[in-house]
Symmetry: C2
Subunit: 250 residues, 2 copies
């Protein structure tokens, strides 16, 4: 294994969900935003936008949508938005039609731009000894997020990111061993759940700081659990909302 | 601005498309894969898989799909696959139904897992003075990629990544200034293309090594150009292929 400062930090990655009452400095924030800006972008289309949330009422509303106590608390809250609106405007003002902007693959390119930037910012934050939590939970009610942030058609609020000074030291969370997630040349469809038993045991030694320090379920139990069961949730409406945003139409 | 080794590298990011005839060492490759493995994952569902391409015929086929000369040449070629198949198998073997796995939001979670890992690996590679190019072009013919890699339903080949010893020194590619991509609290829909004129000028000073060292079009011209025009391309079929893969059904 190669070792250097970047990689050592990456291999020590933990999600931080409790932040000290210390502000992210303007210099730190500027650095994070510049790193986001320098991220790879598909076909040079630059299809994402960041919303910095400073308004306390909006923070509270986002906290309610995400149903996570720590959202909008200490630290800085950024919302990463897939943004095809800007390029639609450019095309419109250059007398071009919308072209491929309503196609699913262009939306996926926008998602890629957005998520690449999120991870780049996470790496930058952790290199500064800041901690971060990526918030997929903002799409618990995507429609409300859209209204809250005044997002026009051709945009979609994909991920939140809360960054701050860590006030907790979680364990390193054990991930699937590579033999399950890496194949050579061809996907291996043969899969026997029993092979996961040793990993399942390791997962159960992990203490989740979120839930009053109790151990967590095995990986397989989590996959088969209620959180992946079909249920009545606004997350079921995402395709509908994407269409309403004029995205993924074909 | 904060400075450290990680951030300095991130701010110097260039896509590398020409690689020296030097192998990525086993230690380097192991490091990249371990970094991928330690990336954040949505709801702990770990929904991505990497295919390492070592077979020369497959490399040639992927090169043909991506229509980029350098694909499958010097360096290491990895294909990052959104993988909901593994969790479907787990649920099936635990006598659970497929639950939410066919929902669009779960597919998007898988995309997020996959893209977060790609960027993490890019950062690790660049920290080792390796170069990388992210290959969105593998979805130029997603159906052929699926057949080539033996990908089952519930998976989708999202991005390729070629990593190797850089054999070129591209210029730093100028990105949109933050005032266009960062808002506070509320999205600003007012947009006047004329405000982009200074940026457009800067973009035109960039020499693209890909096309025999000629300057590139301005950003706005690229957005309004043929590459974003509606046209007959297999990329138009991605939604159909996702459905065939039993993904994004609702």
């Amino acid at each position: 294994m190669t070792q250097n400062f970047t990689i050592d930090t990456q291999l020590q990655h933990r999600t931080i969900r409790e932040f000290a009452p210390v502000k992210v400095t303007p210099a730190q924030l500027e650095t994070l935003l510049q790193v986001a800006r320098h991220t790879s972008t598909s076909m040079f289309m630059q299809q994402f936008t960041i919303l910095q949330i400073t308004d306390n009422q909006k923070k509270a509303a986002i906290r309610k949508i995400s149903t996570q106590d720590y959202v909008g608390g200490n630290g800085e809250l950024l919302i990463f938005v897939v943004d095809l609106y800007r390029n639609q405007q450019i095309r419109k003002q250059m007398q071009a039609d919308d072209g491929r902007l309503h196609q699913t693959d262009v939306f996926i390119q926008g998602v890629e731009d957005t998520v690449l930037a999120v991870q780049n910012v996470v790496n930058a934050a952790e290199s500064m000894q800041l901690g971060a939590v990526i918030l997929g939970s903002i799409v618990n009610d995507a429609q409300k997020m859209i209204e809250l942030l005044g997002l026009p058609q051709m945009t979609f609020p994909l991920l939140g990111l809360q960054v701050g000074q860590p006030a907790q030291k979680p364990q390193l969370k054990p991930r699937l061993p590579l033999p399950f997630t890496l194949f050579e040349n061809t996907y291996q469809t043969a899969f026997d759940i029993h092979a996961l038993a040793p990993y399942d045991e390791v997962v159960q030694t992990y203490y989740d700081l979120r839930d009053t320090n109790r151990r967590i379920d095995s990986f397989t139990k989590q996959v088969a659990s209620a959180k992946m069961d079909q249920r009545d949730t606004k997350r079921n409406q995402i395709l509908e909302i994407l269409h309403k945003q004029q995205l993924c139409l074909a």
